[in-house]
């Protein structure tokens, strides 16, 4: 597992879960006719948020460097990713003039995406912890000249 693998996993899972959450809400609101729109939204979501992927990987890399325990690092990762989500939507509000249609919509979308990100991290937890363990072992090996077989 590398930073890229873990970052990628969090990213694609978050978008899929976000589509699932918003999709469920949209079906409640507008009926089953919106399913096709949701599929398009998933594809668009992957395309639009592609620039965020390096940032996610960078956050994962930073997390590995933290001198904290696994749980603390995981909590840090969650918070940073949620901040990234809000910053992304905040930036979109500044750039796009017609988006969001209203404040409530903005909060709803940002909250749903944040929940999706948290769920994605939870679903990738095993890989993240494995990655942290690898980096700790590497650090030990470098610091104390130990060799791991």
């Amino acid at each position: 597992m590398t930073n890229f693998d873990v970052g990628m996993k969090i990213w694609w899972k978050a978008i899929l879960l976000n589509a699932l959450f918003t999709g469920t809400w949209a079906v409640f609101e507008a009926g089953t006719g919106v399913v096709a729109v949701i599929i398009i939204m998933i594809i668009l979501g992957y395309l639009i948020t592609l620039p965020l992927l390096p940032l996610v990987m960078w956050i994962v890399k930073l997390m590995r460097a933290l001198p904290y325990g696994r749980k603390e690092s995981l909590c840090w990762l969650n918070t940073m990713l949620v901040i990234l989500v809000w910053a992304f939507y905040g930036l979109a509000t500044l750039v796009l003039q017609s988006w969001p249609p209203d404040e409530t919509f903005f909060y709803l979308v940002a909250t749903t995406t944040s929940l999706a990100v948290l769920a994605a991290v939870q679903m990738t937890k095993k890989h993240i912890l494995n990655l942290s363990a690898t980096s700790s072992a590497e650090g030990l090996a470098q610091n104390k000249s130990l060799t791991y077989v």
Binding site: G31, L66, Y68, K71, W76, T79, T104
Partner: protein, 523 residues
């Protein structure tokens, strides 16, 4: 729950209650009381540190000026000194730069610090497993429930109606809740938690305090091996320019020679500039006589400021390492001292330019800013002299100058600039016509001064036709604009509670309501 988490949560709630839809005023004092008490409670050893107590005095002074003037600069001084106070109390620091770095670390690593504190709390140990079990057991049934719920809703219209009625009730319930506690307010609470947490919780990483502790004020002679030298970034540049003269045993001597030549030439050049300034700016200054002099005053200031900063950087570069200990550096030092003295003369010339500018065009933010900047530059030049003469390190230079800037910030916050600017410009209206566009950009604190000089506004209006912008608003109907500003100020004040009280707003309000009251009674 551990006391750190309890204090951060309490601080966040307090932050939310006292700052929501308010401006900085009495609430800042309440928040300050809580934060300072919490800091001294969590880090009791900091109470006896002189640097913390000095910062506390500076911070209380800035709080006092904030309550008195409520200006932007007093707010900045209040925030900066509070952040530094927290950082100096939590870590061992001497330099404000490193203390600022530690605060940024606190800010960046807060989630990990909170989790660390939370993990050791009793609550977590007792309930964690049962909560996790509940969470894991509920995921699959909930998903199933959701799928079948959707199917039944789509297939059964009565069920769909029932769901619709139920969701309407839920929506009403949440609307009621959010009317008091909106999402915006929840986010504000989160921001408060983050800010208070960064101020109260110390991270495990002592990167900046370790670096601060390992830095010294006095320069030490270091033996640099050729291999180490090659790793320095500046080595490549030196070798690139000087070729073989930049490396080897004679490198220090060669750099010394280049430094002497550079300083000699720069001193000569600056001497010419200073002689011109002394001739035309210091003595026999006449603004109207020569258009070039006007240009010199108007355009020269910013470039001269850049040149002074560059001069300081050059000296820092020359005296950064072992050149300080080179036996034959006497002439290099003389050149540096002459360069410093000449730059002080240049500072006086810029000061005079600024003085003439104020005299002929009135006061403005930038012109006052230049005065403070020049004072900072004078401090900078003095410390550069100390650095060279007493062989001090760059760490010393940056540390002392940072403290000087903080003290200057607090001192400058003690003046209520906006009414002062407006008052000065109106008083000198006979010599210099007031720039009303600028006057109307000043904060509401200047409103009483503008109101007292309403005749000037009326005169100006008579002299010029109305200028309409793209929205059809008149941008030079000053009496109308003043009336609107006064009304807006009073409306804004009605939205605030006692938490936003400050003397500046209170006195403006007293003046405006008193005046409105008098006008009404006359009618």
């Amino acid at each position: 729950m551990r006391k750190e988490i309890f204090l951060v949560t309490a601080g966040a709630v307090l932050f939310n209650i006292i700052f929501w839809e308010e401006k900085l005023g009495l609430n800042a004092m309440l928040f300050d009381l809580f934060i300072i008490a919490a800091i001294f409670h969590l880090y009791p050893e900091s109470r006896s540190r002189s640097v913390v107590l000095s910062l506390l005095i500076l911070h209380i002074s800035s709080l006092f000026t904030l309550l008195l003037h409520n200006s932007g600069i007093s707010k900045s001084a209040f925030c900066i000194t509070l952040v530094l106070l927290a950082s100096f109390a939590e870590y061992i620091h001497r330099s404000p730069w490193y203390a600022g770095g530690s605060f940024l670390l606190n800010l960046g690593l807060l989630p990990a610090s909170v989790a660390e504190n939370w993990r050791s709390s009793e609550f977590r140990n007792n309930n964690r497993k049962s909560f996790q079990k509940l969470l894991r057991f509920s995921v699959f049934p909930l998903l199933l429930l959701l799928v079948f719920f959707l199917i039944y809703q789509l297939s059964n219209s009565v069920f769909a109606q029932l769901v619709n009625d139920f969701s309407l009730q839920v929506e009403r319930f949440f609307t009621n809740i959010f009317s008091w506690f909106s999402i915006g307010r929840l986010l504000f609470l989160a921001a408060g938690f983050y800010l208070v947490g960064a101020m109260l919780l110390k991270t495990r990483v002592n990167y900046f305090s370790t670096r601060d502790a390992s830095s010294t004020d006095n320069l030490e002679r270091k033996k640099i091996l050729p291999q180490q030298k090659k790793k320095e970034a500046i080595y490549d540049i030196l070798v690139g320019v000087l070729g073989r003269f930049g490396s080897g045993m004679m490198a220090l001597k060669n750099v010394n020679t280049i430094g002497i030549i550079s300083l000699l030439l720069l001193n000569l050049l600056l001497l010419v500039v200073n002689v011109i300034d002394i001739r035309y700016i210091w003595f026999d200054f006449d603004f109207s006589r020569n258009a070039n002099i006007y240009k010199m005053v108007h355009e020269g200031t910013e470039l001269l400021i850049v040149s002074i900063v560059l001069a300081m950087m050059l000296l820092i570069f020359l005296f950064k390492g072992n050149l300080n200990f080179y036996k034959r550096n006497k002439w290099l030092k003389f050149g540096a001292y002459a360069w410093i003295i000449q730059n002080i003369i240049l500072v006086i010339s810029v000061l005079l330019r600024d003085y003439y500018y104020i005299e002929f065009f009135g006061l403005a933010y930038k012109r006052i800013g230049v005065l403070f900047f020049l004072f900072a530059v004078l401090t900078g030049l003095t410390t550069v002299f100390i650095k060279i003469h007493f062989k001090k390190s760059n760490y010393f230079l940056f540390r002392v100058n940072a403290w000087a800037c903080i003290v200057m910030l607090v001192i400058s916050s003690s003046i209520n600039w906006d009414p002062m600017i407006a008052s000065y410009n109106f008083t000198h209206n006979d010599k210099v016509p007031v720039d009303l566009e600028f006057i109307f950009r000043l904060s509401d604190k200047a409103l009483p001064v503008i109101d007292r000089n309403v005749t000037v506004l009326q005169q100006r209006e008579k002299q010029q036709p109305a200028n309409l912008n793209w929205r059809g608003e008149c941008t030079n109907c000053y009496t109308e604009m003043l009336k609107k500003r006064k009304q807006e100020f009073l409306e804004k004040q009605q939205q605030y509670t006692w938490l936003s009280w400050n003397y500046a707003d209170h006195s403006v309000k007293q003046y405006l309501t008193g005046k409105t009251g008098t006008q009404l009674s006359r009618k």
